[in-house]
């Protein structure tokens, strides 16, 4: 064994002056080839950066994390985003930064005895939140479920017959605004977090689009912008929030934010107002007189996938 791998044996035994590798013209040719290949590889490697330069302004590239911005920097960002909306979408938007209201924790409940799966909430979310028109994107999915199971895997979102169908019930699912959100835990850059009023938000400029959060969410509540959202100018909702419905860039993750640009002004979420069955109830869970508190105290509410310990702020109940 040791003899065969000795210093004198094998093809590795080359002395200086031998023909081949030391031929000056061949060496130069190899050098040239290497340099060309290297340059090509470099150009290919930095091509995403060149793309970035085309789609991303220097201000956006250098923008700090949302939580590190002071009010002056925020104002500059809001004005820049409004200009970009005007340039890219031809729409006059009013983008604001809505802070959580002290003494507020939002919760939502849906009466599954009333919901008939008509999809009005899905459509309202689509319009309110400036979702991509081509894909009918929305933060809400309505699952048509066979009566007798709560297994989300048996739900179907693509039903297109008259509703309610016999033997089925309808369960709208959106972000559950968990008190123990797995999605924020897995974010490698802390681009998503839970705010004081319970809403889990995303800093669309800080998100790197790794989609870990999308995989971590047991409710399938997060959406990824595969393309730049396309919204006709006349359909853009001009009332926008920095952390909510302003038009998202390509390559970032987004999710339901309880319409924080509305709810942090005291208004009801768009999906609730659109619901034609009155199945949706929203409110401040810290207010003992609120509608949502009455639901939690008087109805037999449950949460989805309770066994995972995510502690949702989103509740479901049946009347009968």
């Amino acid at each position: 064994m040791s003899e065969t791998s000795g210093p004198t044996g094998g093809p590795g035994d080359r002395r200086p002056g031998a023909a081949g590798p030391t031929d000056p013209s061949r060496r130069n040719a190899l050098k040239g080839l290497g340099a060309t290949l290297g340059a090509a590889a470099f150009v290919t490697a930095i091509s995403p950066l060149r793309n970035l330069a085309r789609t991303t302004s220097p201000e956006e590239l250098m923008q700090k994390h949302y939580k590190e911005l002071d009010s002056e920097e925020k104002r500059a960002i809001l004005r820049r985003l409004e200009e970009e909306t005007k340039l890219e979408y031809g729409a006059e938007a009013r983008i604001r930064d809505h802070a959580a209201i002290p003494g507020t924790k939002f919760a939502y409940a849906i009466n599954l005895s009333l919901c008939n799966g008509n999809g009005k909430c899905v459509e309202a979310c689509h319009k309110e939140n400036n979702h991509d028109r081509a894909t009918n994107q929305s933060y809400i999915r309505v699952l048509e479920m066979p009566i007798g199971t709560m297994d989300m895997g048996r739900g179907n979102t693509t039903y297109d017959h008259d509703v309610p169908a016999k033997g089925k019930f309808y369960m709208p699912v959106q972000c559950q605004q968990c008190d123990e959100p797995p999605c924020t835990d897995v974010c490698p850059v802390q681009a998503t977090w839970k705010e004081d009023d319970g809403i889990v938000v995303v800093d669309y400029n800080w998100c790197i689009g790794c989609r870990y959060c999308e995989a971590a969410c047991p409710y399938h509540a997060r959406r990824f912008n595969w393309r730049k959202p396309e919204v006709p100018a006349e359909e853009v909702n001009p009332e926008q929030g920095l952390l909510s419905n302003r038009i998202r860039p390509q390559g970032v993750v987004e999710k339901c934010h309880f319409c924080l640009h509305r709810t942090r002004e005291g208004r009801l979420p768009a999906c609730l107002e659109a619901c034609s069955t009155g199945a949706r109830v929203f409110g401040n869970i810290l207010d003992p007189e609120s509608e949502i508190r009455w639901i939690l105290e008087n109805k037999r509410v449950f949460v989805l996938k309770e066994e995972l310990g995510t502690k949702p702020s989103f509740f479901y109940f049946f009347d009968k």
Binding site: N111, N116, A134, R141, T158, G278
Partner: protein
Amino acid sequence: MMFRRSVTIILGILSGVVLAIWPTITDSTNSPTEAEPDLSVVRERPATFPITVRYPTPSPGVATGIVDVNGRAITVACEVCHSMIAEPPSPEALGLANLKDFHRGLVFEHGNLTCQSCHDPGDARSFRLANGTPVEPWDVIDLCSQCHGPQRKDFDHGAHGGMSGYWDLSRGPRTRNACTACHSPHAPKPGEVRPTFKPIDRFLTGSDPDHPTPRKDADHE
């Protein structure tokens, strides 16, 4: 020189250790991160804005068999005849089965109720409770609550009937729906509807330029 440098290093390490354990020292008495939510803000806020209740009072109408240009059935309201040419509704007309001829077109599917369960026999356009107390059209919810108590309780607590406007009444008004805004009093059971809006799956529909051919394993969901 050497002495001063080592003193600096030792001071640095010491201060680092103190900084590192400081939160545990302070946490043992009062945790600043787990503060009680400030409820005073909620309780002090007065509810100042009104809640408006929409109460459309649909006329029952009798189908004439004619449709308008949009294909909707043309109906005739009761008072068209009963206020002018015809007699007041007969007290004997206690239900749909007793109505004859023209009245057969009236859609009425509301349990075992008769016209006069809600309508005043003396004036078909007025309502009355079971004990004879007159009810104004905007109080129609009181009329319905005689039988539908649980729904009334839910409505009073915002859990039935839907709403729009403000969840926070200290910031703005709210609109609610009376029973008849959604339910026809003469056939209150909601019918079937066609779902309005469906997500378009980029893989299954071929709507995505990167995936122009719909995937064959479409049923893997």
